[in-house]
């Protein structure tokens, strides 16, 4: 069976997003639906920038070396497989110290932070995350030489068709 084609156009995504935010309050049983957010939806990109700044301080996070893997179209926002790999020899002298992942639209901007080191052998991590809406996921790698590297990926998240009671 071939993979279903993602059926999104930018207009469809925008319309669906408005519907999702409106419908969110009534779909009580669904995880990560933005019914009572910690930060109001408008403030979340700023919250993400603040969370990012808390990690990188005044430095610039250069594009490159780190790569995010996420499915382009997500079947269910409750458990989205997230992969992060960073090019690095992982030696004592040159390794990845930490990887931080952020979202721009979840109620809280931090997703997960990993602490690594030369004992890791490689910087190749998988986990599963929640995505409340179609949005951009950002990952930042902190290297032993003090530099920061970043990657961003947009993910489309659809909503289950049938609302359930339980």
């Amino acid at each position: 069976m071939t993979e279903p084609l993602p059926l999104v156009t930018p207009a469809a995504v925008a319309t669906r997003r408005r519907f999702l935010i409106g419908a969110a309050g009534f779909a009580g049983g669904m995880a990560m639906v933005t019914a009572l957010p910690a930060a109001a939806a408008d403030d979340r990109p700023a919250a993400m920038q603040a969370a990012l700044k808390a990690v990188i301080g005044g430095e610039t996070a250069h594009k490159g070396r780190i790569k995010i893997e996420l499915p382009p179209l997500v079947e269910n926002g409750n458990a989205v497989p997230l992969g992060v790999t960073v090019e690095s020899p992982m030696t004592d002298a040159d390794h990845v110290k930490a990887v931080h992942v952020f979202t721009e639209k979840n109620p809280q901007p931090n997703v997960v932070s990993f602490q690594l080191g030369p004992r890791a052998g490689t910087a190749n991590i998988q986990t599963r995350m929640r995505l409340a809406d179609t949005q951009i996921v950002t990952a930042v790698a902190e290297m032993s030489d003090g530099t920061f590297w970043r990657d961003e990926l947009e993910v489309v998240v659809t909503m289950a068709a049938c609302l359930e009671d339980s």
């Binding site: 990560m32 009572l36 990993f114 004992r119 052998g121 599963r128």
Partner: protein
């Protein structure tokens, strides 16, 4: 029922080999952002920290936030340095604590 954890570590490895480790633990990871049927927020209840040690030395650590999915899964790598014990611990809200250990033979 107590939290159930499932860890996967190769039982044998060659010295210096990079080995893959997988961990899975049962936990609802309640975000703190969901309302209950009467509209009140269900309090946050998540695992906050996951640590892997190898013969007592920390080799990997993760800090979880509410955006980590329920029944958290983490897969990572480590260098097979010596025979011994690889231990994983999870800790979080409401005094949550769980630990699992497994032996590894390194030739």
């Amino acid at each position: 029922m107590a939290a159930r954890a499932l860890i996967n570590v190769p039982p044998k490895a060659k010295r210096g080999e990079v080995i893959g480790i997988k961990s899975l633990i049962s936990h609802e990871m309640e975000t703190g952002f969901r309302p209950n049927a009467t509209g009140q927020l269900i309090p946050r209840n998540i695992i906050k920290e996951f640590v892997c040690t190898y013969n007592g030395v920390e080799v990997f650590r993760a800090e979880f936030f509410p955006s980590v999915s329920a029944n958290p899964f983490v897969s990572f790598t480590t260098l097979a340095t010596e025979s011994g014990t690889i231990t994983m611990t999870w800790s979080g809200d409401n005094g949550f604590f769980a630990t699992e250990s497994v032996a590894i033979t390194v030739e």
